[in-house]
């Protein structure tokens, strides 16, 4: 699944030695990470490793204690919010929204960074929002209020809002949570399709197998440090995985693609 296109010259996202303290506790310690157009990069790691904090830092919402984060070559804290929102879209893990808001209203809010104070949404803006809903399969529930949606539908609505921003860089925090296996695969296939169009995608994922199957590159974050990064086959190995998650899981090759699969190492069963 490597990108067919040559990587862009300037990285969409360039993090160098990113260090973040939250309430005195170090959450990120010297993280280096690049994301270019046309690629899907997976940010892996156990709970509390700092994945979500890194994504928030990448949109300038967390003050850095050290290092730098640049979007398209400009330090993130020097970019006006509106300009940043035209380049970068974010799908949070559990975003809140009023339950009475309709899906189409939510998606249309994605056009906000493209609209001036005085302007109303044009036919083009409505078309972009409709297209975002079509690509994410939100059309059939576009007129429904958010409170009536299932967890998976809700997630798709928020992904559609991010697409409506027409971002060059898309950041997602656990987009597969709450989704069944089929929907997880569809979500990641959508990310691949976006990468084919040139979008740079950075996705925080728990599921190592899913990440290995769909990402061009992955970085393993543990206690705020990147302990391994590179192609999935180089990072998702028995050695790295057992170092991070202990010896209760093993890595085996996918029967068709050979991509690494992480499964529990079942030694005995209670009923055996």
């Amino acid at each position: 699944m490597s990108a067919a296109h040559a990587p862009a010259a300037v990285a969409l996202l360039a993090a160098r030695g990113v260090t973040v303290d939250l309430g005195g506790a170090p959450v990120l310690r010297g993280v280096d990470l690049d994301v270019r157009g046309h690629e899907v990069v997976g940010l892996l790691g156990p709970n509390g490793a700092g994945k979500s904090t890194f994504l928030r830092a990448a949109t300038g919402l967390v003050p850095l204690a050290g290092g730098s984060i640049a979007v398209e070559g400009v330090a993130v804290d020097r970019i006006a919010r509106r300009d940043l929102a035209r380049a970068v879209a974010v799908v949070q893990q559990l975003p809140e929204a009023p339950g009475s808001m309709l899906v189409e209203e939510l998606v249309l809010l994605g056009r906000n960074p493209h609209l001036g104070l005085l302007s109303r949404e044009s036919a083009h803006d409505y078309a972009v929002a409709a297209d975002a809903m079509r690509r994410t399969g939100c059309e059939e529930f576009a007129h429904r209020p958010l409170r009536t949606l299932s967890g998976g539908q809700r997630r798709r609505a928020f992904i559609a809002r991010a697409l409506a921003q027409e971002p060059r860089l898309l950041l997602l925090d656990e987009p597969n949570a709450n989704l069944d296996v089929q929907a997880q695969a569809e979500a990641f296939e959508l990310l691949r399709a976006l990468a084919r169009d040139g979008v740079g995608v950075l996705v925080a994922v728990h599921d190592l197998t899913l990440a290995a199957a769909y990402c061009d590159r992955v970085a393993m974050l543990v206690d705020g440090r990147v302990i391994a990064s590179g192609a999935p086959a180089e990072v998702v190995t028995s050695e790295v995985v057992s170092r991070v998650y202990g010896d209760r899981v093993i890595v085996i090759p996918h029967p068709q693609s050979g991509a690494p699969i992480v499964v529990p190492a079942v030694m005995e069963r209670a009923d055996a």
Binding site: L61, V90, P98, L109, P113, A123, A129, A193, D197
Partner: protein
């Protein structure tokens, strides 16, 4: 999820047109209600003047219109110089309170927010109390010191609350609410002290605290209009940003909103509108809390629709309750603030039972 390699924007599924239609209907409905209540207001009072005659008097004041009316000359004075300014004052104040209440609720993402949250009412009451008991009031100043000091008190209270709540460039909603409560209690305590120790001279403070339109005049309307219109225009410009802010501040920032700046602008504009309304008519409770809330329950939470509809319904509500205030115990007048609470409270409870409180989360 269907997958396609390239996004091809297609004509939208009529979303834009549906939105405009969804606004036009309710707008016409609420405007009709306002006109009906206004006509009722002109005809009610000590002299019972037929609606047609009353409306003819008003229309005759517009350029290029002349309708022949056979009626006592004193009727024209009653309608045009007494009832019309009072009707306009009630309408303007009701619209202003509902409009600023909607903006406050939007900024705080909370249905319990009202335009008095940051101290507008108690600051205005303190300013008015000082004007009433000081030697200023007896001095010959045509416009009156009460509205002037009420406005200054309201503005000062909000500035103080904001100043205390601010840390760096940002200000948290919780800190703002707490600072507003603290400033309000201090101002209310001083007002109570003035009321208790001021003797008979302090009695007019009570009528300010309950609100009234019996001092409504063309002068007050003309002086207040620029502040009301200016503040309302700024809020109207931010209607779409209010929609974005309904998500939460982090998402709003990720959608390109400078949250800290938008909050300052919106709170300043909403407080300006509310302070002007209170300076014009005293402290009228309930309108700024309930009208935007009911509007949201009935017509949905899109601020571009909610703001104008809340203004129309606020105007209708306050004109209607002022009619009741004038007629319930005729010839005596009930303070309009008491009527708004007596009428609005039960109606709100009814809505809570029938249509579960909602619209926010």
């Amino acid at each position: 999820m269907s997958i396609e390699a390239t996004p091809r924007p297609r004509p939208a599924v009529g979303l834009g047109r549906r939105r405009r239609l969804a606004t036009a209907g309710p707008l016409a409905l609420c405007t009709g209600l306002l006109v009906a209540v206004a006509a009722l207001s002109l005809t009610q009072g000590a002299a019972s003047i037929p609606p047609g005659t009353a409306i003819a008097f008003v229309l005759n004041r517009l350029p290029l219109i002349h309708i022949g009316v056979e009626a006592p000359a004193s009727w024209e004075t009653i309608v045009v110089d007494v009832r019309l300014p009072r009707l306009l004052a009630a309408g303007v104040v009701g619209a202003a309170l509902a409009y600023s209440g909607a903006a406050y609720q939007g900024v705080f993402r909370n249905p319990l927010a009202d335009p008095y949250l940051l101290g507008v009412a108690s600051g205005a009451a303190l300013g008015a109390s000082i004007a009433i008991v000081s030697p200023l009031e007896s001095s010959s100043y045509e416009f009156g010191w009460v509205p002037l000091l009420a406005f200054a008190g309201a503005a000062l209270a909000v500035l103080l609350a904001y100043g205390f709540a601010q840390s760096g460039r940002t200000v948290s909603n919780t800190a703002l609410i707490l600072a507003g409560i603290a400033i309000s209690s201090v101002a209310s305590a001083i007002t109570s002290f003035i009321l208790l120790t001021g003797g008979d001279r302090a009695q007019p403070i009570l009528s300010f605290l309950f609100g009234s339109f019996n001092t409504a005049s063309w002068t007050r309307l003309v002086v207040g209009a620029p502040y009301l219109l200016g503040g309302a225009a700024v809020i109207a410009l931010h209607a779409r940003l209010l929609n974005v802010l309904q998500l939460d501040e982090e998402q709003a920032a990720q959608l390109g909103v400078d949250v800290a700046r938008s909050k300052v602008i919106l709170l300043a504009a909403a407080s300006l509108v509310a302070a002007t309304a209170v300076a014009m008519a005293g402290v009228i409770g309930f309108v700024g809390l309930v009208v935007p809330h009911v509007t949201r329950m009935v017509f949905g939470g899109d601020y571009r629709r909610l703001l104008p509809l809340a203004a129309l319904l606020g105007a209708s509500f306050l004109i209607g309750t002022d009619v009741l205030a004038r007629t319930l115990l005729r010839p005596q007048e009930v303070p309009v603030g008491i009527v708004t609470a007596m009428v609005g409270g039960p109606f709100f409870l009814y809505l809570l039972r029938v249509r579960r409180i909602g619209g926010f989360r």
